[in-house]
């Protein structure tokens, strides 16, 4: 009996990442996965030669977003840790690409999701990983 309640508590903790404020994060990460993925797939197919670096970086960001979305939905301690690593990578990515696009615009004839710190996307790309990290830290109690 005790084992069962423990299992139930574990099940609650497993699903906890995508609930409450996490539900909002799932939506936003889902939107950015679709946006970055469809954008990079289209551009890699249709106009690869124009700005290969920008399109490959878009594809990388799509993979990171997809992984975080899946982790949030699945839940559990392993997924939480993995998502934290990815959120940190995402933050580093936004900061690096953001600075890079400002310092050397000639390397980026076309935009990526992370250009100019995500300005074309209302700066959401830079707020999202910070919010994500805060939420994942708080969700630890599960």
């Amino acid at each position: 009996m005790a084992g069962k309640t423990e299992a139930e508590a574990e099940a609650d903790a497993r699903t906890g990442l995508g609930q409450g404020p996490g539900r909002l994060l799932v939506l936003l990460y889902g939107v950015f996965t679709v946006a970055a993925a469809s954008r990079s797939i289209y551009q890699l197919i249709a106009q690869y030669q124009e700005a290969p670096l920008a399109y490959i970086l878009s594809a990388v960001s799509a993979v990171v977003y997809a992984f975080i979305t899946v982790s949030l939905v699945r839940g559990g301690e392993g997924a939480r840790r993995a998502a934290m690593v990815c959120c940190a990578a995402e933050l580093v990515g936004v900061l690096t690409v953001g600075t890079w696009t400002l310092a050397d615009p000639s390397a980026f004839p076309d935009q990526t999701v992370w250009s100019d710190y995500g300005m074309g996307y209302l700066f959401i790309p830079i707020f999202l990983p910070v919010t994500g990290l805060l939420w994942l830290r708080k969700a630890r109690r599960g």
Binding site: G22, R23, L27, G30, S38
Partner: protein, 122 residues
């Protein structure tokens, strides 16, 4: 025709965002009335998808390309229904906040659709 619908969708999406945002602010989950509002906006988006496809079949040529136009049409048709299902299983203020965020996304998609179609007179 499609411009008027795009503008109408943008405005109704923002209204829905404000309404559900207010519910979230008051610590309330989405209620039946909110779902009726979501249904209206979702229906408009589906009509827009239909009209867009008919116009394309009729030989219309969006300024920034057919593939991007269709992708944005599908995205805008899916945004509100997906958020509605997510708020159905999240019976807290965060369910309302989720719908509100999706409605803002839809409004942004409509602005982009307007550009992609080619602005005034398309």
């Amino acid at each position: 025709m499609i411009d008027a619908l795009t503008v109408a969708l943008g405005v109704t999406a923002l209204l829905l965002a404000a309404w559900c945002g207010f519910a979230a602010y008051r610590d309330q989950p989405t209620k039946d009335w909110h779902f009726i509002g979501m249904a209206v906006v979702a229906l408009l988006a589906i009509v827009q998808l239909g009209i867009g496809v008919v116009r394309l079949a009729g030989g219309a040529d969006p300024q920034q390309g057919v593939a991007i136009f269709v992708a944005y049409l599908i995205g805008s048709a899916l945004a509100v229904p997906v958020a509605a299902f997510m708020s159905l299983t999240e019976r807290t203020r965060w369910g309302s906040a989720t719908v509100s965020a999706a409605a803002v996304v839809l409004a942004v998609l409509e602005v982009r659709l307007y550009d992609i179609w080619g602005g005034v007179g398309g």
